[in-house]
Symmetry: C2
Subunit: 409 residues, 2 copies
């Protein structure tokens, strides 16, 4: 099955927003083994919209169309698509009812305009909108499938996951499951070369590596008659991959270094403090992104100035003078101080030169020291990173979290 993804909206053509919907749907369809040959964007203009949809119907079997389901005169997707597919519109009472309830819940009046959103193609499968007003729908005729989804990403994603994916799976005689292994501490080319034979041999499940900042993601995708069988196949392939790369795998799918770190600390009943210089609060911010992190994260010391390092962490003035703020000695004194002052079980520290200014020959931009204090003492890691200020800071934060995870294992 070949698909085309079409986004409708003048705000995309004006560059006011990025079309992230297309990326999301492309990724999801590719997981189902559906080929996407084109993505298109067209404005809220009836003629151009019509010609765009018409052409897509000629070159694809499945059209996923996002946007233009709103209540205003501008929103024409449903009317245009239904006309092209030969469907007439009628009031869809359950949707109208649901919208009435929605407006009551958010305590806003429902305008006559909104009723337009409940007009649906007669004979289409109506798709419920669990996060907003505009319902979506699926129309099917002469081997062509057209699926209309709302434009706001949260509404679109919720509708896709809840209603579209199951419908698309029904069209297939097989089930597709995928799993992403998240690796840290190894580059893409090295990861790929270590499992090159495995990638070559594996058609089903397939193995696809993706390079991310500091990480490599391996997506395993299996096609089978049942979900159970597919999962079993994924388990087997994961086992083979793990023999070669298991030591680098810190999590799966939506896991991040910070979620895994926080959850592992919770399980072990341990607490963490962080002392940051060059990352300036980024590590604390990442940890506290995780809901419930308050149970394990106690103190964050953002010691950007040398005086703050001395005052807040008890770093020795002589160490700062002799070795400089970016040094192994200071990194170790920082995490030791953070552990003592906070009473936490673990303390991480980072000090480095994030750039773009401040580098010297001896201490170039990208030089970073990470310290970790545990009940067994203090360790330090030296890194030489490259990239923009933001990239160096992000890599530093990720490496610090990875160092903690290693310890927690």
């Amino acid at each position: 099955m070949n698909a085309e993804i079409i986004a409708v909206g003048t705000e995309i053509l004006l560059g006011n927003i990025v079309n992230t919907n297309a990326q999301y749907l492309s990724e999801k369809l590719s997981e189902l083994g559906i080929n996407v040959y084109y993505q298109s964007v067209v404005g809220d203009n009836p003629d151009r919209l019509k010609s765009c949809l018409k052409q897509a119907m000629e070159r694809a079997d499945l059209l996923l169309i996002t946007g233009g389901l709103g209540p205003t005169q501008d929103d024409l997707t449903k009317e245009t698509a239904a006309e092209l597919m030969g469907f007439s519109l009628e009031m869809h009472e359950p949707s109208l009812e649901r919208m009435r309830a929605y407006f009551q819940a958010v305590n806003r009046p429902m305008t006559p305009n909104n009723k337009k959103q409940a007009m649906m193609p007669k004979g289409a499968t109506v798709l419920k909108n669990d996060c907003g007003t505009a319902p979506g729908c699926m129309m099917e005729r002469d081997g062509k499938i057209m699926i209309l989804l709302p434009g706001p990403p949260i509404e679109m994603k919720t509708m896709y996951e809840g209603y579209v994916r199951p419908l698309l799976l029904q069209k297939s005689d097989s089930v597709i499951s995928s799993r992403t292994m998240r690796l840290f501490g190894i580059g893409e080319s090295r990861a790929e070369s270590l499992i090159a034979d495995l990638i070559r041999e594996s058609e089903n499940p397939s193995i696809a590596p993706y390079a991310k900042l500091c990480e490599v993601h391996l997506r395993l995708t299996a096609k089978a008659e049942t979900e159970e069988k597919a999962e079993q196949m994924l388990d087997e392939t994961e086992g083979k991959v793990s023999e070669l790369l298991g030591q680098y795998c810190y999590g799966y799918d939506e896991d991040t270094l910070q979620t895994v770190a926080v959850h592992t600390l919770m399980e072990q009943g341990k607490t963490l403090a962080v002392a940051e210089s060059c990352t300036g609060g980024m590590i604390a911010k990442m940890i506290t992104e995780v809901s419930g992190s308050s149970r394990v994260f106690t103190h964050g010391f953002v010691t950007y100035a040398n005086e703050a390092k001395e005052q807040m962490l008890g770093v020795k003035h002589s160490a700062l003078e002799r070795f400089g703020a970016v040094s192994e000695t200071v990194a170790m004194q920082m995490c030791r101080g953070a552990k003592e002052k906070s009473g936490a079980d673990f303390a991480l520290s980072v000090t480095g030169i994030a750039g773009p200014g401040g580098g010297t020959d001896k201490k170039p931009v990208g030089l970073v020291y990470i310290g970790l204090a545990t009940s067994n003492g203090v360790r330090c890691k030296k890194l030489l990173l490259s990239g923009s200020r933001d990239k160096i800071r992000t890599q530093t934060a990720m490496n610090a979290l990875a160092m903690l995870l290693e310890e927690l294992k």
Copy 2:
């Protein structure tokens, strides 16, 4: 002039990357007054690429094509586009020379494949790549213009700014200048209603409001014979806008609350400390995003746990017990403590409930207190925010920075 933006790359159709190039170019073309009617994405497939380009030539005068200029067999954009425009390829010696120098500089061998990148359409305007290897080009024939740009965003943007924009401006008999006023503390609909007459009356310069998280951006765009005249028109219109909304305007164009805050502190020779509970380091992280912030930002206290608030900031145990951590009293004690411990001229504090858990009837998710300590004493602001955890935290951080800016004025 009507334009179409085409991105070439199977990795976009697989959903591996988001097509941010299209958004960037759409925005830039719209600033020049060029209408973008379609954006398209097509894979590295010769037939589909050809049919996509052919169609675009029928419906647009100007084609901007990104991607597919790489050294491998897959990269076919140049060959396909040149054929359609009736140009033959020839070795472009200056590009070859530049690539040789590039590879020497990065100390990597130049492969025969790379030479393919220096083959350019004969008679085209070659566009230098200042950040990578693949040059771009502009072909012109029979009133159609085709511009090929590399896919990596940094290379594409640098080439657009340096070489494409000037060429497009030459095609126009007028100059277009724009300026964005950044407003904080007012909603989009209120901002829009206050300047409704002005928007209606203003065709040149035009005024377009954009709603962002916590901010409203007003883009003023002027068209004139000279840059000077355009800037003068912008000044005039900005003056009229400022009469009505000036109090909300904190900066222009690429300014952010944190860059303006850091630069204002620098100018005034003042220092800042921050004490964060619910934002967990986000404010410190935002401030330290600004290069040079080390001159004004001294201490960051991330006091997620109550004990940390007592220990690090001297918040009274009795206050925490009586009023709870999320209270005006604690917010004020936090910033007072941060100012005292750090010796900074200003100290900001935030405490609140970021959710999704932890809310009660009396203290719902989104309740936030922001404190500010100055040499004149301590003030506090209460906010009721809504949205996801991340959104509440971001809004809190932005409001805290805005409160500081107000004080600095």
